[in-house]
Structures are given as C-alpha cells and as structure tokens.
Point group: C2
Chain length 324, copies 2
C-alpha cells in the first residue's frame, strides 16, 4: 500500500508533513514512542493531510499553519484505528502487526489516548477556537460511531440508513473536516469551507463504501489483509445489506452469517462472499458510491476555479476506481 | 463517599455544576448515555470543579464561563477512571460496579473516548486557546502516566522519584490546572493563575499520597473498596517503597509481594500490610504529604487576600486529615 501520489504539486509539502508526523509523536516516553512509531511506519495513504493541504489552496496557503491541522487529523485517524484494533481483535493492519497484537490491549488503549491528546495539543498551538470546536465535535461523533459499530456486529436486520450513519461517523466526517479545516486554517471564507466540507463528506462516504466493497472483491495483495475480514468479524456492510434484500438468497445468507458468528469468524467465508456476489449487492453498492461521487463533484463545481479543483476532481474519480 | 461540602459559599454553584455535568453527557446515543450516567451517578468528590470555582474567585467570577472549565475537568477525570478500570481489571469503584464490569472492556474504552471528546467540546465553546493548550498538554502527560503505571506494576525496584513523577501525572497535574484554569477563565492575571497552579499541584501530590495511605490504613467503609487493593494489583505506593528500604523487612516483604503477584492478587494481603505498618513507611509517607501541604500553603500566602483563601487553606489542612 502506498500514499496517493497523483498530486505532483503536493509531493514536497506532503514529505514535510510526513516528517512532522514523526516529530509530533516523539516524546520522552520510550514505549509510547515505540508504539506510535510502529503505527506511523505501517504507513497509510495520508488521505486526511492531503485533503487539508488541498483545502488550504482555497485560501492563503501557508504550510506552517496547515501542518497544525494536517498532522492532528492524521493522528486522530491513527488513534481511532488503534482503538478499533482493540475492539476488532485484529492482529494485522496494512500487512503489519497491530499494537494490540505486538504489545497488548492495555498498551493499545493508552497509545490511542496519547495520540489523541498529542493531536489536540498540536492543533491548540494554532490558537483558532473554530478548529477546536470542529475537531472535538467530530471526535464526539466518531466515538458514538465506534460504539454503534460494536452494537451492529452481526446485526443482519440493520437498514441501509443505519449503515450510512455509521460510515458517516466512522469515515466521512473526518475527511469532510479535513477539507474544511484546511480552508479554515488558510483563512478562506466560510462558504468555500462549507463547500469543501460537502465535497469531503461525499468523497468520504464513497471511499468507505468502496473500502467495504474491496473487502469482499479485492485480493489480499490489493488490500493488505485477507479479504472477507468484515464478514468474519460480523461487520455487516452495504453489499451484504443489499444481498439480504434478495428473497432467494436471504435464507441461505442468514444461515451462513449465523454459522460464521458461531465460529467467531474462524471459518471459511468464501461461500458467503460468493452469495453476495451472486446478488445485486455489489452493483447496487457501486451505484450508491457513484452517486456520492456525483454529489462531491457538484459541490466542487461551485468552488472558485483553481488548479486544485482539477486534483480534487481526479481524486473523486479515483476513489471508486481504486483497487488498493 | 460524599462531596467535600465544607464550602457553604459554593454549595449553590456546585449544585448547578452537578446539573451541568449531567446535561453535558446527554446525547442521542442510548448506550453512551447509560454508561456515562452510571459513572456520574457513582459520585465522587467533584474536587476538580470545586477547585475551578475557587480559582475563579481570584478574577471576575462568572459561573457561565467557569462551567466550561469545571465540567470538562471533571469529565476528563471520569474518562481517565473508566480507562483505568479497564487496565486495573477493577469490578467496583466507589462501591459501584465499574463500566467494564457492568458492560464490557470495549464499551468502557469507547465510553472513555466519548467523555474525553465531550469534555473538549464543552471547553471549546469558551473559545480561549490557552485553555485548550493547557488541557491538551495535561492529557498528554496523563496518558504517559497511565502507560508508566502499567510498566510499574509489581516493580519493587522503583525509586521514590519515580513514584512521585507517576502521581504527578496521575493526579496532581489535573488538580493544578483546575485551580489555574479557574483563574484563567475568570481573566485573572498570569501571576495569580501560576500561584494557584502551584497550590493545586502541591495539594494534589499530598492528596494522592494520602489516597495511597488510605488504601493501606483505611476500612472498606471509609474508602468504598476493600483495603489493600493497590497491593493486590501490584501498584507499589510510597509507603511500600519506604518499607522496602527497611533492611530487616525488605526480604520478607519482597517475598510477600512475589507471592501476591503469582496469585494475581487473589490472596490475603493483610500480612503484607502489617509489615508495611511495622516499618517507617506510613510515618514517612505522611511526613512527605505534610511537606507538600506546607508548599501549597506557601503558594497560597502569596495570593491576594480574599475569602476563598481561607477555604483553600482549610482544604489543604483537610487533605492530609481526611479519612474518606
């Protein structure tokens, strides 16, 4: 897995943000340095910082200011992943051992707490109250989303609406505020910041739907973990919800999901995946992702013209076509 | 266990803060409401809000502003306790079931995350960057402290210095910034805020030493949990460190601690407690607590005269005499 590197313009600045990310978590505490470094080194697409910088292009672009938003947003994302791994009982992420598996659950919990706090500390250096209001509100929503996720494991009766609300909190919100706060930190006007929020929100929704599709249709090499891991942990995603609406498949698929649940996911899930692929689940989920992309592009249209707009358009198109 | 109610002056305002605490955690999410309410209802001394209000008396006392600091500080304290209970594997706190025991560890972790985020959201409403800087820095220190605590369990070779650094992060810092931020929110001058910080820091150190003493010398009724719980979970406190410096007791006490460790704390610890009481450990810890109180009183002397000073003096005297 590698960083999105389709933006030549930002490459230099993103390298600087990458260095800042490493600097940001370095502290006096050895074990916390180790666990946090381990997380950072595992990589990731750094999507949130990229969106922050692009949002910044709609105002007075100043990397020294923008880093106080770009770094915290990636850190908040990372911290949520560590806490997620505790819950999901995941041993690997992005092909690397998770903190909870390399160390233990307690250390993973406090590593998450530490990274959250570091993120807020770096954002606080900017002294802009609006940024804090937006960040802390998003963190409230994210923690509600995480809690919902626990309750929704193996809940085969959940609606599409419930799924969408969950991915809104889990993914879309943080991407939305990345775009928005980039603009805010660059002192752009509120209308521009709001349009960027809407762009980011819709791209984020499409991104998560695509992520959930890849977990069913991708290969281990493409996604950095064995496919079907959502099925195994009882994470009922959009294609599954749609597949369960198929009258003929519903019975067998429900039985398959019960079977997986009884075995705590320690079983073959290829049968369940084949059923979902035989349904309209994949096509309908793809269609919904495309609709979110269309909404993102609509928001984009209303933004002032600049070179970044083209890049944001490329990302929107890229999201539903990516295979990693 | 009841609230410190020696301050008639603040009773009405503290009742208002109590209501605000309940309001602050009410959200749309049922399970998070339940877990957070459970925590709030378990009570506690509300020491941090009390200190915030008293700090506020050294500036333009405005309860509507002060609540944006008092509520977050109590919430941050509460969130750290929930995460603590996950680590400590504690089934009760203040005589009540803990979230991790009434629900489960995952729910306790996300309840903590939720309450942290809520705390920051409420503080953000005030729009004062200094408050965010101080809060987020304290949260970084606290999470380092929590991590240290894990590593120090059953570490019988730790120094007094290491113990003091741990309780600084675990307790004293949050009490120090409660006093300080009360003054900051009330727009008092930096010198006053700093003196209040020093008062709070020293009271906080004495408070935690006293807490650790009570765990050895108190009764279950006094402390709301069975005495000796620190011994059982391997939390090596000041009286133990001092007792281990007694050449004659060192051998037997080390063997007793190994025995407790082997049994994961599921054994009688009265023998170990008796040994500590037979040493100079209790007296020396009390003496150090008194020295911190003296420092707190010194900082207090340098503050401008007002009615709150007398109350703060009473609290300082009260801390090392309390038996709950």
């Amino acid at each position: 897995m590698k960083r999105l590197d389709i933006f030549g313009l930002l490459r230099k600045d993103m390298n600087y943000i990458e260095d800042e990310l490493f600097r940001s978590i370095k502290g006096e505490h050895e074990l916390l340095n180790e666990t946090s470094m381990h997380l950072l080194k595992a990589g990731g697409k750094r999507l949130r910082p990229v969106f922050v910088l692009m949002g910044g292009k709609f105002g007075n672009y100043d990397l020294e200011k923008l880093k106080h938003v770009a770094v915290p947003l990636e850190l908040i994302h990372m911290a949520s992943l560590v806490h997620d791994d505790v819950i999901d009982d995941a041993d690997t992420r992005r092909g690397q051992l998770t903190v909870k598996s390399k160390w233990d659950n307690r250390i993973a919990m406090y590593t998450g707490d530490y990274i959250y706090a570091r993120a807020l500390m770096i954002a606080a250096e900017l002294g802009n109250p609006l940024i804090h209001q937006v960040l802390s509100k998003a963190m409230v929503e994210m923690s509600i989303g995480e809690m919902e996720q626990i309750r929704d494991f193996f809940n085969t009766e959940q609606s599409v609406r419930r799924y969408l609300l969950r991915i809104r909190r889990k993914t879309a919100l943080l991407i939305a505020i990345s775009c928005q706060l980039g603009a805010v930190a660059a002192e752009s006007d509120p209308k521009t910041a709001n349009l960027l929020y809407r762009y980011g929100y819709n791209v984020g929704m499409a991104f998560q739907i695509q992520d959930d599709l890849l977990d069913l249709c991708g290969t281990e090499k493409q996604i950095g973990k064995p496919p079907g891991s959502d099925m195994r942990q009882g994470n009922i995603t959009l294609p599954v919800i749609y597949a369960l609406q198929d009258e003929e498949l519903q019975g067998p698929l429900l039985r398959e999901i019960s079977y997986i649940r009884e075995r705590n996911g320690e079983c073959d899930v290829t049968g369940a995946i084949k059923m979902i692929k035989a349904s309209q689940g994949i096509a309908r989920a793809e269609e919904l992702a495309d609709r979110y992309i269309k909404k993102a592009l609509d928001a984009l249209e209303r933004l002032p013209e600049n070179r970044t707009k083209k890049n944001l358009r490329d990302i929107a198109h890229f999201v539903t076509k990516r295979s990693y």
